[in-house]
């Protein structure tokens, strides 16, 4: 029991440290900016999945479902964002009568 509690305390501490890092990336390190925040947020999601949801200890089927969710999200967001990220906007000229 003690080992489990210690592990969970370290997971929670890591999550709070990452939250602090997220705020630091936003305000103290403008160079990191948005990409820094995105990387830290993705790390927090991973820590929660492995630390609190015990994904590491689960079997093949669970891993398959988790990987499928990730793959579907990548396809949805990747293909969905392709259009607005590659579109060139030209200024509209409005003819004055």
């Amino acid at each position: 029991m003690t080992a489990v509690v210690l592990r969970l305390i370290s997971v929670a501490s890591l999550m709070f440290a990452l939250l602090a890092a997220e705020l630091a990336a936003t305000f103290a390190f403008p160079g990191w900016g948005r990409s820094g925040v995105a990387v830290i947020a993705a790390t927090m999601v991973g820590v929660a999945a492995f630390g609190f949801m015990d994904l590491r200890q689960e079997g093949v089927v669970v891993w398959l479902f988790a990987a499928a969710a990730l793959l579907w999200l990548i396809i949805l967001l990747g293909l969905g964002a392709l259009d607005p990220m590659t579109r060139t906007l030209y200024p509209t000229v409005i003819a004055v009568p």
Partner: protein
């Protein structure tokens, strides 16, 4: 308790029942991830249409409440995990205590979000529409941001409300759970942490990206 008593008749063993329950919930969570996916895509679309105006909307949010709420959900997932560990080691009283803490932290999140933050946002005239308080060139982009903000936080809040009901159900049925038989506690815990994960994505999209320029 014998192994036969620890699982339902259709499963060959308690471990088989546990694996089935856990994988079923993970499949459900995969569909939930896809449910939230288009909302994240809407954020990308709306922001790329006019990044500076969208970010101007993001800077109107209450960062202190956002950070506090994130800390509350992290602490809540931690409390639930401790509660799960308690029942795994046979302590039903410990489980109830930690689940009550997790429930209280979740309820505090809802109270802060909808009782305080939403009220402040509405009083500041940040609900999209004719009376939207942001004027000038950022107006339409900021309105798009707040459309995303109100919709996504309402949807997340609804999920959290369901989570609170499930937690209350687990607590009310605490007498049924033993160290050998507690699949429901584990299953609800997965959903509870998933709600936390959704917030961990929404938090930077709402509060940080607009300020990280």
């Amino acid at each position: 308790m014998s192994d036969a008593a620890a699982h339902e008749f259709q499963f060959s063993s308690a471990e088989h029942q546990r694996e089935t329950a856990i994988s079923g919930v993970w499949l459900f969570l995969a569909t939930e991830a896809l449910f939230f996916g288009p909302i994240f895509l809407a954020w990308i679309y709306a922001r790329l249409a006019d990044p500076s105006a969208f970010d101007a909307g993001g800077r109107q949010t209450e960062l202190t409440i956002g950070v506090t709420n994130t800390a509350l959900l992290i602490a809540s997932s931690f409390a639930y995990s401790i509660g799960l560990a308690c029942i795994e080691f046979g302590s039903r009283r410990g489980m109830v205590l930690w689940l009550l803490i997790a429930w209280t932290l979740g309820a505090a999140f809802l109270g802060l979000k909808f009782g305080v933050e939403w009220r402040m946002d509405l009083e500041k005239g940040l609900f999209p529409g004719a009376n939207f308080s942001v004027h000038g060139p950022s107006r339409s982009g900021a309105q798009l941001f707040f459309a995303f903000y109100f919709f996504s936080t309402a949807l997340h809040g609804l999920h959290l409300l369901v989570g609170l009901a499930l937690l209350a159900w687990i607590i009310s049925k605490a007498r049924q759970f033993t160290a050998e038989r507690h699949n429901s506690v584990r299953v609800v815990g997965l959903y509870w942490t998933f709600i936390d994960i959704i917030w961990l994505i929404l938090f930077p999209l709402i509060y940080l990206i607009g300020r990280a320029s």
